[in-house]
Subunit: 364 residues, 2 copies
């Protein structure tokens, strides 16, 4: 057990669970959504604003920070907490996902990944051990093991090979850890094959981690299939450890995953949609650059409690987004994050009040 960390289950309703992760940098009520701070900042938003809309924990991308400014710099400037000014909990991914998406410019073998940096063309490698070392330098509260993510549409042999490599890497990563003030999560793979995912989960639990992630989902599989895969794996994960569904997704995808017992989420959708002027609302997605909002004096979402809806109109937001004024992307992202963070607040309350299914049925 890592000093200063714990996960407490506070309530359950069916498979859904409400809990609390405690870290040395603060606590996280679960199920929780983690805004993505790709380069150590959530797209134009400062720490006080993020806290103001209910963010409890942020996710940073290890690969991007490793490239620039470099993990040595982040460590020299106080780790992620000191570097960014967000002094609450942080989670870092392993960096693998970004490296694998380099396609032709990366080569994968059992040792790790070799890739050509898009930044300066230099050859670099990422191994299970270096992914640990980089994340220990970044100093997040929760770090992730390096995994190989097979395509969901791939065949069984391909999925098995990636799953088995992920397990070998997980064991190496677990041995490579040095910091005692950081939680470390393993990642379950297995493509779209329920039995393989269950096998992966059992073996990952056998290695032993502080929490477990569902990897390789949200990449094109059907919602029903995803729900089954989540449920299959959660049956064999220890209930006392947090469960994290990486990169999922739309609001209803989050709700469906909470129903299967998932505790943690991250997704770039609210900030990416925000930058493109697409707002989440109780009426569905609003394409705020649409001409019909030109003279619309109503708030973006009349039922929203965010500072943007308290102060600004659709017409003003549309104008800022049309002109490319920085404030437009910022306000839209802040509103969307509040939408996600409030959704999880509502989910937690519904679980505690034993009315989760009823509430979930109302989410579009």
């Amino acid at each position: 057990m890592t000093l200063g960390f714990s996960f407490e289950r506070l309530a359950e309703d069916g498979e859904a669970r409400a809990g609390r992760i405690i870290t040395p940098h603060g606590s996280v009520e679960t199920p929780a959504f983690m805004p993505v701070a790709t380069y150590g900042a959530v797209r134009g938003l400062g720490p006080e604003e993020l806290a103001g809309v209910g963010a409890q924990i942020l996710l940073a991308n290890t690969y991007h920070l490793h490239e620039r400014p470099g993990d040595d710099t982040v460590r020299a400037l106080g780790g992620l907490h000191g570097f960014t000014g967000w002094r609450g909990p942080w989670l870092t991914d392993s960096g693998g996902y970004q490296v694998f998406s380099l396609g032709d410019r990366m080569k994968l073998d059992d040792d790790g990944v070799t890739f050509q940096s898009p930044l300066d063309g230099a050859r670099r490698t990422l191994t299970p051990e270096s992914a640990v070392a980089i994340q220990e330098a970044l100093g997040a509260d929760i770090a992730m093991a390096l995994d190989e993510c097979p395509p969901v549409e791939g065949d069984a042999a391909r999925a098995r090979a990636a799953t088995e490599r992920t397990l070998r890497w997980a064991a190496r990563a677990a041995r490579a850890r040095r910091r005692e003030d950081q939680w470390f999560f393993g990642i379950v793979q297995g493509g779209a094959f329920p039995a393989l995912r269950r096998e992966s989960a059992l073996a990952t639990v056998g290695i032993g981690f502080d929490g477990y992630a569902h990897g390789g989902l949200g990449l094109g599989e059907e919602p029903e299939q995803r729900a089954d895969l989540l449920a299959e794996v959660n049956q064999v994960l220890p209930p006392e450890a947090p469960r994290y569904a990486m990169g999922i997704g739309r609001p209803k995808d989050l709700v469906a995953a909470v129903a299967r017992g998932v505790d943690l989420f991250d997704c770039v959708l609210p900030t990416r949609h925000g930058r493109h002027g697409v707002l989440f609302s109780h009426e569905g997605l609003l394409h705020m650059r649409n001409a019909r909002f030109q003279n619309d004096g109503a708030p973006p979402d009349a039922r929203c409690d965010c500072p943007v809806c308290a102060r600004h109109s659709r017409g003003y937001l549309r104008h800022l987004l049309q002109k490319g004024e920085m404030l437009g992307a910022r306000l839209a992202s802040l509103h969307n994050l509040r939408f996600y963070l409030r959704l999880l607040e509502q989910a937690r309350l519904a679980i505690r009040e034993k009315r989760f299914s009823e509430w979930a049925g109302d989410v579009g």
Copy 2:
């Protein structure tokens, strides 16, 4: 006298003066700096942040808002105050400066300016009367008369022609006014010719405005020459009316103009420099993208009281600016605005304490 408006002189020290403009939307301690909200937003910054660094009044560009979203839309959404959420005082320029800078695409005659919109190629006209009507629709607390700004380096005949046209336009603009809840300022021209500027000032005062602006400065003239031109005109402007030096400039230019009795300033320099990663500091300009700041954990300016310097390091700012993360431009702009706004706070205090010259001598 316009209802709800006044200008009170509170202290004088030499030619420098400290005062207070009262408008229906709040008061402005002078000398004051007005951050520029080109499209109705100060480059990524929200109303509460601007108030937090001491902004009292904002300037919006009539031309840009006339093009998009259009003055009808701004009026429909509550005028500048309702549209933007900045409920304190606003000043709008006449739109002329932006139109004149279109060069070949604009044609000037005594009636006004005809130009081809860079936005949609349509022919539009701006006249002294339409500049009033547009600004009345935008609803700022202070509007400006349309003027013709001759080049500072131009010859006497060119300067005289522009100055005389500005006076004819000023008289027409004064007659075109309809709103009684808006102050209206005339603009003094005259190029680099002291006698012509004095003549322009006397005639502008003859028409009668609520305040007077020095136009056509900050365009390449020497600081000493500018100081003389400001002093020459301020001698004949009524002391009971506010004086505004448009578009000036660097911190030391503002201080020199305050010394000659100017009350209001605007300039894009703090926000433009911020976007480019150039920060004002007590050590002079800091080019924050410079590699020497990579591991620098110090605040941007150790003597600064802004929220950026309270929370963030040079190393983090450098990283954000290097990556093009929106937050970098935003934080740098906020810091620079605080630098300007604090400079004017210090000037006001120095005037009240009768030590303005001593203080001004210390400003680099």
